[in-house]
Amino acid sequence: MRTTEFQLPTRFGAGGLGGCYAPETLMQPLLDLEDAFRKALADRSFQAELKGELRHFVGRPTPLTSAPRLAARLGLQGLFLKREDLTHTGAHKINNALAQALLARRMGKTQIIAETGAGQHGVAAAAACARLGLKCTVYMGVTDMARQAPNVARMRLFGTEVVPVEAGQGTLKEAVNEALRAWAARCDKAHYILGSALGPHPFPTLVRTFQTVIGEEARAQILEQTGSLPDAVIACAGGGSNGLGLLVPFLGDTLHRFAVEAGGHGPALGEHAARLDGGRMGVLHGCKTLLLQDQHGHTAETASISAGLDYPALGPELAALALDEKIEVLRASDDQALEAATWLCQSEGILPALESSHALALLPELAKRGFSTALLGLSGRGDKDLSTYQSKLGI
């Protein structure tokens, strides 16, 4: 018997963000997905399988690394890095991609569709599909394919077809458009693994649920290592899978939670991807949220040196938590992020992804505000960004 109504809450916060603004063709597939998701969560064998794969394939739990030299350099008493960069495929994206691939197999789907911006979600989906024997197609904007070329090669090595998306700016927004279209055409055989906590219900809830392992581990680890919680927890936020994954498990705690958006290269519309200040409530890609848009309701162009943060909408749950003042949203510019990457390289011997560097860039601000200890989500490693670092930093 098919479900005819969603069983889980579809909206977030006092403003009722989120929802399911999907074309009719996708409504039954979304209902079926929510049904499968709920049943999987309640199924011990699914949980055991996921846990086993996260441990033996992904490499969880990831370490929580103390970074005393960087802390001292930036005026903090203590700094701890949650090392998602050390997961298999090099970013937090694999947590969700693997879980959704397991869910897809359970649903009897043989094909996977995914979008990617920085390529980390695409690589994660490609790896998960190779491991589970699923056929994978990834949609990627042509601008992103050029700036994240190593990830394109990795996806192809895993047997995934990478489809270039030429429309618009050739970035994540256009890749999501094309992935949604592809899913509408093949929803009878294919599951769409959305990589960020956005899109129509149930995707935001599903992605966040599969990513909170980050914050759950980090919370237990910092209590074990230091005996107390930090003053602040901070993560970068594109759609919000990493931000929510780290921050949601700390929502019940008395501490400050920060998400960092891409400030790009200027404050004007089109020069950044900072949705909290720059966005207005709108609907894009199936959900209602803070959206960078022009006065006519057309999606605005965005800019960021980091492909993974270069998206015009903030995920609806993260936007709701920001509007309800449970998470503070800040922004870091391209230049700040580049400089922050060098701090971590020099002080701790860790090369961060450009996305994660946006969170690092706000650490001096935290010190200035009087926080003495911070836990930072290092969402991914910077190997994919080497060519950008080389050209921008002149090394």
Partner: protein
Amino acid sequence: MNRLLPFIMAGDPSLGSLPGLLAEAKALGIEAMEIGLPHSDPIADGPVLQAAAHRAIQRGATPLRVLETLAGLTESPDLILFTYLNPLLQIGADRLVELLRQTPVNALLVVDLPDSEEPEFEALLRSAGYPMIPLLSPTTDQERAKGLLARRPDPGPDHPFAQRFAYVVARLGVTGTGGATDLAPVRERVAALRSFTDRPLAVGFGLSDPAAMAEVRAMGATPVIGSALVEAMAREENLGAFLQSRMG
């Protein structure tokens, strides 16, 4: 029965040509027409309509300018405004109703608005005389279809086709692409719908040639011609000749 439901994208090839195209369609006996309000991210449309929308936006066809262009037109088929939710949300329901009052628009087809999501917005528009057209896709089973048609009801035979019909999406996927659409399953779906509704039906997505149009009419439904017409307009073909070739 209405023989053809054409779709054109407002602002493509130009907003200036729109009144003339609508008058020409009306003179040919076209009763109702879908008019696309260009959107930056048309997730349910294929490459032809996406390109047309982007061209129209480039040429300044904003939602307000489209509605201004339609204001006061009397020589026009009944129009169904075909679009995505966000541009309408930004205008707001009250202002949208005021703007629509001046135009030949009779109904709306908002591709990414299920009937559950903006009940107040939708109710305000419906009570002002602008109903939302329900879409029925290959993934919509009979029980779901019954619910959708009940929640977006037929206002009755004293209302024009443009406000009464349900849109049967002929196949999975987006508008326009992927060669000929197999109409055998569509015939079965239309027959199944006929077992519980007598409201007018239009069939669209992937129909382009005169034979497909005739096949849909043989089902007792109205064929929609969209991407093929938009392509013909972009090639500066004559609207009248093109429509006549598809009207049977």
